[in-house]
Amino acid sequence: MSLEQLLFLVVAAVIVLAALGAVFARRIMHAALCAVVVFTAVGGIYAIIGSYFIAVAQVLIYIGAVATVLVFAVMLSGQKDIAGGSPIRRQARWKTVLTWAAFVVGLVMVFQFTLNLTVPASGPANAPMAAESATSLRFLGQLLFYDYLLPFEVISLLLLLVLIGAVVIARKESDPQ
């Protein structure tokens, strides 16, 4: 096992554990902090595969912006526990078990498949896109504004519309329209 693989396994384990922590934490603040750990560790994965720019962007955007907003929202809402966590009803329990069983079986199948796979020569892992070109800002900028211009521009419109929609939904009832 190479050092890279070892690093990957450690970071992946941190992601899985922190994600579980975010789901199962009783206190909403703990859940938010676990999410921050997940964001950071995902940045670590990008760094391991050599996409340093994306790693930095991940840290800047997810920790700098998303996590801050998340923590703000938690503090503003003033709720300490995750309310309404009623225990699972007995009738529903077998459904839960069944769902989880199906989920686990599915995961195992996916693992089984992936273990037996070989990535062909045309795959991105073997593509001639060298590490330095993938990380250089010039390369990324060219991709964004030439090859991926259309989706890039559509995303800007998407963000605008979602912002407007969020304001409509979240506005106070008494506000004049």
Partner: protein, 462 residues
């Protein structure tokens, strides 16, 4: 110039911005007129632009945009249904004093996403289009802020829809990881047989799409989301966003039909038969009109998926007719539901009681739409079902044809309950009955489309 090919989408984007900006300057009393007027104008120009590109087949924007007749047909379809939807929602938005500019802008945003979805064979662009549709749909579903049902609809749709998006992206990442490309043609071309990773990727991708289509077994969110959403938006879900997803699924399936024929096609058949049967069976027990229409749309999605399972040119031709007629009949019924709702009659089947007496036009039109949805001649619904039926017999899928006919018979029962309520049961209409010219126009257009297609389905195949 490649921007010419993007003209329909650019029109929509410009329209959205114009509506938002105009809302800031006009007087409060005329905000609704301004927003809807600009919306109508935008969609009219969109229609003209899409018609102008009707015969073109060309790639642009580094392969992200594909303009072809198949996509252009659906752009025209979206333009027409969009115009009808604006007429449908005009009085609704006024009555509930919803924010008009935001409503129209979000709706047009969804149309922009749909327009991109039908004109791309590049998975990233298609995904961005799909997200544009999904996110605006969640917001529109929750647009009635005073109504807890609407909030529930938006929230359920949002959470489950996000899972579907994640599944879809996961599938795309498998396909990209294996082939190194996001172009459907390149992905399909670099495969020889159904390799494991591609099968997983395709299945995940299809599951995501089937979820957005509310096909069985991914349908559980649909009735709640469609019941709680504002009525015009319920209409939009069943004739707008679903059709766009259907087209994207079709492009995907048609590329992979050779490679994945064995693996994926029979899942598709199971989903199609399941959707028809479950949708029709559960619809039998519904009393709420919107829920009933939700289950009915699940059943119709089943019929449409049959066309993809068959995959022949005849089946695709049948799909066009089926979608066109289904949308017309559905929009017509939703216009009538919107009207009864505006008379404070509620949205139960019983709300239709006496409809034939107080509003004979709507009563008769309801009859036409119901006949069309069941598939009784001489309506267009009959033609759609007949063409689909013949396409499956041609491929020697006799059992499938029999199942389709049995399901048609099953659907008679619940559609008939609407007609019985409208014509054979009566009740007092307490509030003074008000006419609504916009809704009457929608109903008339829908009746004309349904009846014309019944005798001449060819106009939808030009």
């Amino acid at each position: 110039m490649q921007y010419k090919l993007l003209l329909p989408e650019i029109t929509l984007a410009a329209g959205i911005l114009a509506i938002i900006c105009a809302d800031l300057v006009v007087a409060r009393e005329s905000r609704r007129q301004t927003a809807f007027g600009l919306g109508l104008l935008t969609l009219t120009i969109y229609l003209m632009a899409a018609a102008a590109l009707g015969g073109v087949t060309e790639h642009a924007f580094a392969g992200h945009l594909l303009v072809d007749p198949w996509g252009s047909f659906f752009k025209l379809f979206f333009g027409v249904t969009g115009l009808l939807l604006l007429f449908l929602s005009y009085s609704y938005v006024g009555q509930r004093s919803l924010a008009p500019a935001e409503f129209v802008a979000l709706l047009l945003g969804a149309y922009l996403g749909m327009s991109l979805m039908v004109s791309s064979e590049q998975l990233l662009t298609a995904y961005v289009g799909l997200e544009l549709v999904s996110l605006t749909s969640y917001l529109l579903a929750a647009f009635l802020r005073q109504d807890p049902l609407s909030t529930e609809a938006g929230l359920k749709y949002f959470i489950l829809g996000s899972v579907a998006s994640a599944t879809l992206l996961f599938g795309i990442s498998f396909l990209y990881g294996y082939t190194g490309s996001l172009e459907l043609a390149t992905i399909a071309g670099s495969l020889s047989t159904g390799e494991g990773m591609v099968v997983i990727g395709s299945l995940l991708f299809l599951c995501g799409l089937l979820f957005k289509l509310a096909a069985v077994p991914f349908h559980v969110w649909a009735p709640d989301a469609l019941q709680g959403a504002p009525t015009p938006i319920t209409a939009f879900f069943s004739v707008g966003s679903k059709v766009a997803v259907l087209v994207l699924a079709g492009r995907f399936i048609s590329h992979f039909s050779g490679v994945l024929a064995q693996e994926v096609h029979y899942y598709l058949l199971l989903v199609a038969i399941g959707s028809m049967t479950v949708g029709n069976l559960v619809a039998l027990r519904q009393t709420n009109l919107k829920r009933l229409m939700a289950y009915s749309s699940i059943a119709h999605i089943g019929y449409l998926l049959v066309a993809y399972f068959l995959g022949t040119p005849e089946a695709y031709a049948a799909l066009r007719v089926y979608v066109g007629v289904y949308a017309a009949a559905n929009l017509g019924i939703f216009a009538i539901i919107t009207w009864t709702e505006s008379q404070n009659r509620g949205i139960e089947i019983d709300s239709f009681r006496g409809l034939g007496r107080v509003q004979p036009l709507f009563g008769l039109a309801l009859g036409v739409f119901v006949f069309s949805l069941v598939g009784i001649p001489p309506t267009g619904g009959f033609m759609g079902k007949l063409l689909l039926f013949m396409a499956s017999v041609q491929e020697a899928h006799y059992i499938l044809a029999v199942i389709m006919v049995l399901n048609g018979v099953l659907s008679v029962v619940y559609y008939y309950r609407m007609l019985r309520s409208a014509f054979f049961e009566d009740s007092e209409w307490i509030a003074p009955i008000t006419k609504n010219a916009a809704l009457e126009a929608v109903v008339l257009v829908a009746v004309v489309v349904v009846m014309v297609t019944g005798v001449w389905p060819g106009w939808l195949q030009m």
